[in-house]
Amino acid sequence: MAAPLSVEVEFGGGAELLFDGVKKHQVTLPGQEEPWDIRNLLVWIKKNLLKERPELFIQGDSVRPGILVLINDADWELLGELDYQLQDQDSVLFISTLHGG
């Protein structure tokens, strides 16, 4: 049984618009059988934080192309992507890439 985790979830680059314009969310993930990883964090976000148009954020069981996921300010690709196991006090940033100029 994994203990509850306190995690900072942050959105930027316009992704926050799907979350009522709120960029920073301090969240507590409840204790559960399996350890928390990014895959089930996404499911939790979709259920608890996402306000509208989930297809602009989620695609399949991952984020849609064009959204970068950063765990403690590092590209999630360096840390195992969906399989990264969250630690207490981690910060996870979802940043939509910009294209304007």
């Binding site: 680059g13 192309p65 910009l98 294209h99 304007g100």
Partner: protein, 460 residues
Amino acid sequence: MATREEVLALRAAVAQREEELNSLKQKLAAALLAEQELEPERRVPVSPLPPKAALSRDEILRYSRQLVLPELGVHGQLRLAAASVLIVGCGGLGCPLAQYLAAAGVGRLGLVDYDVIELSNLARQVLHEEALAGQAKAFSAAASLRRLNSEVECVPYAQALTPDTALDLVRRYDVVADCSDNVPTRYLVNDACVLAGRPLVSASALRFEGQITVYHYDDGPCYRCIFPQPPPAETVTNCADGGVLGVVTGVVGCLQALEVLKIAAGLGPSYSGSLLLFDALRGHFRSIQLRKRRSDCAACGERPTVADLQDYEAFCGSSATDKCRSLQLLSPEERISVTDYKRLLDSGAPHVLLDVRPQVEVDICRLPHALHIPLRHLERKDRESLKLLREAIQEGNGDTQEGTAVYVYVICKLGNDSQKAVRILQSLTAAQELDSLTVQDIAGGLMAWAAKIDQTFPQY
């Protein structure tokens, strides 16, 4: 104290000067146009810049403040003078970037932009001026930069960067700056840089945020390493829809110029393999670590599949401009033109006009008789909004016969969101959450209204 005659004489003198100034501006615009027409014939074959051996007395004075920086020094300045930079996009990022590169004494600047200057560009595209509205941005930028530093060679390319032209162009320059505003161009520039072996300094901005990084430098990642798949077209927001503050593109364009200068002077960039995020509203700069170059990258990996440039518009499912897309969701019978709506309005036929733009846009301008409910409220079936709509429909119904459907016309800025709103209203009617109604959207929206019906109505 000035006499009345003196005041009058001064007024007359001012008016005369203003007239002279206007005529000069017109002449300049015409001259630029003539230059532009000549340009395709000229097709300057750009040869590599020769290495520079020494600085002249004038150059020493001009660049003295940066020459005394030990990190740069004469050696770095000579490298800048022999460097060439290709700037893709002469807009909000390209203008400040080009301005600082020219001021710092970079030898040659290639300026790519297919677009012409519009009034709505001037709040952030600071090399262009009022008098040149309608002229090509590439020529306007070149003219502006020549006034700033006549020693810098400016080569305008008033055409789109295409898969046919990109590689040849990129090969003629040492460093490339991506200041473009759309996804297909970003992939095109990346692939051309990888194929030509050029470092790419890439930046973007929207609303109050900016992002900047350096691709394909030394063993660093390229754009495709980070973004192997393009984003779905409907998730991409342009500056016209999302808005952008000019100073934000200014800050980001200057940071981009800094990276270009460091590469060109041999100091090396700071943001290869990392991405700088700038949040202007919160005053935050945050640098994040990006992944390494991917060995399976389609462009720069060990077995690349991008051997030559492709059709990037097809790859991304969007066009290589930042012009607003026009949605075709409804059938022609479900739409009405602004001209027909005007006729209907003048005839006094009972109806409800529903404006579905966000509040911030309604604050800019509105038709006084419109009911305002933002699309987002309709999407989430906001109770209060549906109540307002029902009341408006009942009120409109008072004048019509029992049993006839009420006409609802939906309007937005350009006629995209209004189509989505029509679909929502139709489904609400089908679900009997709204009374029977006939709903159409006004094609082209308020901007068509401004262009065709009411010339005093603001455009934005």
